[in-house]
């Protein structure tokens, strides 16, 4: 048996593969396709303090090797999550990250406080959703604003705190340093890239909100560069993501310096893909004689 265990922020993952927020629901649907216990962890759909119906109009649009989305954080709210979704997740024998968005500092704080008393393993603070005011992307652009929200949340948060960064940040390295200084236990990056699509026949943007978030294999080379730079800039562990489609992509992120990786859009292409990536990493380690991921992390 290949040992893929990895410990970050005081939490032990059985392997480095985490299903990314918003691409795996709360695990119920994919659980029909494979046992979720195969995964290192699952990050919940982005949660807001109150239930949200999400955006109207087009929500998903296909681009070259990518998709744009403007779901608008449709979610059952923190209470709904705790009542209806968490009990199922707790039974899956995998690490649970609660992905939390918010439009005000207060909202973040109330949400995180409610989660303090649950069995979730980590908070993933989403300061980077481009599709709603409440996603908190405003917090994710300037390092100083991010510092304030992270520091405030840190103060009341009794769970390990991961901050999810936006690739739209002005300066990724400053942003990462700021979040680390404010007390983040780890960082995950990247969220989606702000992007635009136009229907030239109706002469209107495809999305009601004009811009939307780009994800998928198209962004991988940029996301990988950001993970590499950020891993040099800070000492806290990093969860890398952005366009990972197979175990080779996952290994690239680890070699760029990531401790764990997340699989997002790829889950839409094949419901078993996260599990397949776990198996692929194990095989790669075996073939290459790698005993522990520590040997290759940040090796380039």
């Amino acid at each position: 048996m290949i040992d893929m265990r990895i410990q970050i922020c005081g939490v032990e993952f059985k392997n480095p593969v985490i299903a990314a927020s918003g691409t795996f629901g709360f695990g119920r649907e994919n659980a029909e396709y494979f046992p979720l216990s195969k995964l290192g962890g699952i990050s919940s759909k982005g949660l807001t303090l109150n239930k949200k119906d999400g955006n109207r109009g087009t929500r998903i649009y296909e681009t070259a090797s990518g998709i744009m989305n403007s779901i608008g954080l449709q979610n059952p709210g923190i209470d709904g999550f705790i009542k209806d979704e968490l009990p199922f997740m707790e039974k899956q024998d995998t690490i649970i990250l609660a992905n939390v968005g918010g439009s005000t500092l207060d909202e973040y704080i109330v949400s995180v406080d409610k989660l303090n008393d649950t069995n979730i393993d980590m908070i993933e603070l989403n300061i980077s959703c481009p599709n709603v005011k409440e996603g908190g992307m405003a917090f994710g652009i300037k390092a100083k604003t991010a510092y304030e929200v992270v520091a405030a949340v840190r103060e009341i948060c009794r769970k390990p705190l991961i901050v999810k960064l936006s690739p739209n940040a002005e300066n990724m390295m400053e942003m990462a340093e700021s979040c680390a200084k404010a007390g983040a236990d780890g960082l995950s990056l990247v969220n989606t890239f702000n992007a635009l699509a136009i229907d030239i026949y109706s002469r209107k943007p495809v999305f009601n909100n004009i811009t939307a978030g780009l994800s998928g294999p198209c962004i991988k080379p940029i996301a990988l560069r950001m993970v590499y730079e950020v891993s040099k800039a800070v000492d806290i562990p990093i969860i890398g993501l952005g366009g990972i489609m197979d175990h080779e992509d996952a290994i690239e992120f680890i070699m760029a310096g990531a401790h764990c990786i997340q699989v997002g859009t790829a889950n839409f292409i094949e419901p078993t893909i996260s599990m397949d990536i776990v198996d692929g990493i194990a095989k790669f380690m075996k073939d290459e004689g790698i005993k522990s991921l520590d040997e290759i992390r940040g090796v380039i």
Binding site: G22, T23, F24, G25, R28, E29, N30, E32, Y33, F34, P35, K45, D53, G54, R56, G57, T58, R59, I60, Y61, E62, A64, S65, G66, I67, N69, I71, Q74, G216, P217, M245, T265, N267, F268, I269, E270, P271, T272, I273
Partner: protein, 260 residues
């Protein structure tokens, strides 16, 4: 456990009319040899009327698979009826016998098969696909109203087992010139079932609403995952936001809040 994407082999892929094709697929041999699969997955395609498969007849360009309704299943072979409207369906139309493609399914919630009484099935264009499978599985008294833009197709398959067939074409090239909604008389039916362009379905829901006749519709939506995780395919209903790929595609018409 359900299976992820599996392979199918094109048995036939026949053009029925301008931009309309019928494709029959066999399960791929690999599935049959893989003894870890449940016996029914090894033997053939499954699914109920109104359910669909996500299809990918290409690698990662386009990135996403495309939802296509089951038009029939017989001896484990599945039939799809599809219209070429863009890149994905065009690539499907170029597949030849023996080519393989990837499929995920059956997906979604199909039609209630316990409907009693006299039924009207109303289709617009390739929307006939799920209705054909439905009628092939029902014994009810049924009339089939099918609207086409121009040349009608697949009439032989539509006719089988229905009492009356009503054809309309927008350009008058066959049957009644105009829209199906003009021919259709709701009072004669206990339940109406429809699939086609949204404006057509909306009109039918309106007409039937006046007579208090229930309408089941199979909805369209652009899909990413097909299994309920992306929340890209949602529709607003009187009981909240529903996923077309999961709680749908079949919905009771009066519960749907149509966009404007």
């Amino acid at each position: 456990m359900k299976q992820g994407y599996r392979r199918g082999i094109v048995h036939t892929n026949i053009q029925l009319a301008t931009d309309v094709y019928e494709m029959k697929l066999m399960p791929h041999g690999d599935n049959n040899r893989d003894t870890s699969l449940r016996i029914e997955d090894r033997l053939g395609f499954q699914g109920n009327p109104g359910q669909f498969y996500m299809l990918r007849g290409w690698q990662l360009d386009p990135l996403l698979a495309r939802p296509i309704s089951i038009c029939n299943i017989s001896n484990g072979m599945v039939t799809f009826l599809y219209e070429v409207v863009g890149k994905g369906t065009r690539m499907m139309s170029e597949l030849k016998a023996g080519d393989t493609l990837e499929l995920l399914g059956p997906l979604g919630t199909g039609f209630d098969l316990e409907l009693g009484g006299r039924l009207a099935l109303i289709s617009g264009g390739a929307g006939m696909a799920p209705l054909i499978y439905l009628k092939n599985r029902l014994e009810n008294d049924m009339d089939f109203y099918c609207g086409f833009q121009s040349e009608p197709y697949y009439i032989d398959e539509i006719e089988k087992g229905v009492d009356n067939i009503y054809i309309t074409t927008e350009d008058g090239s066959a049957g009644h010139r105009g829209f199906v909604t003009e021919l259709f008389t709701p009072e004669r039916y206990d339940t109406v079932i429809t699939c086609g362009p949204t404006p057509m379905m909306k009109e039918i829901v309106k007409i039937c609403g006046k007579h208090d006749i229930p309408v089941y519709m199979s909805m369209e939506s652009h899909m990413a995952c097909g299994i309920g995780t992306c929340l890209g395919c949602t529709v607003e209903t009187t009981s909240g936001i529903l996923r077309v790929c999961r709680e749908g595609p079949v919905q009771l018409g009066k519960e749907v809040v149509f966009d404007d």
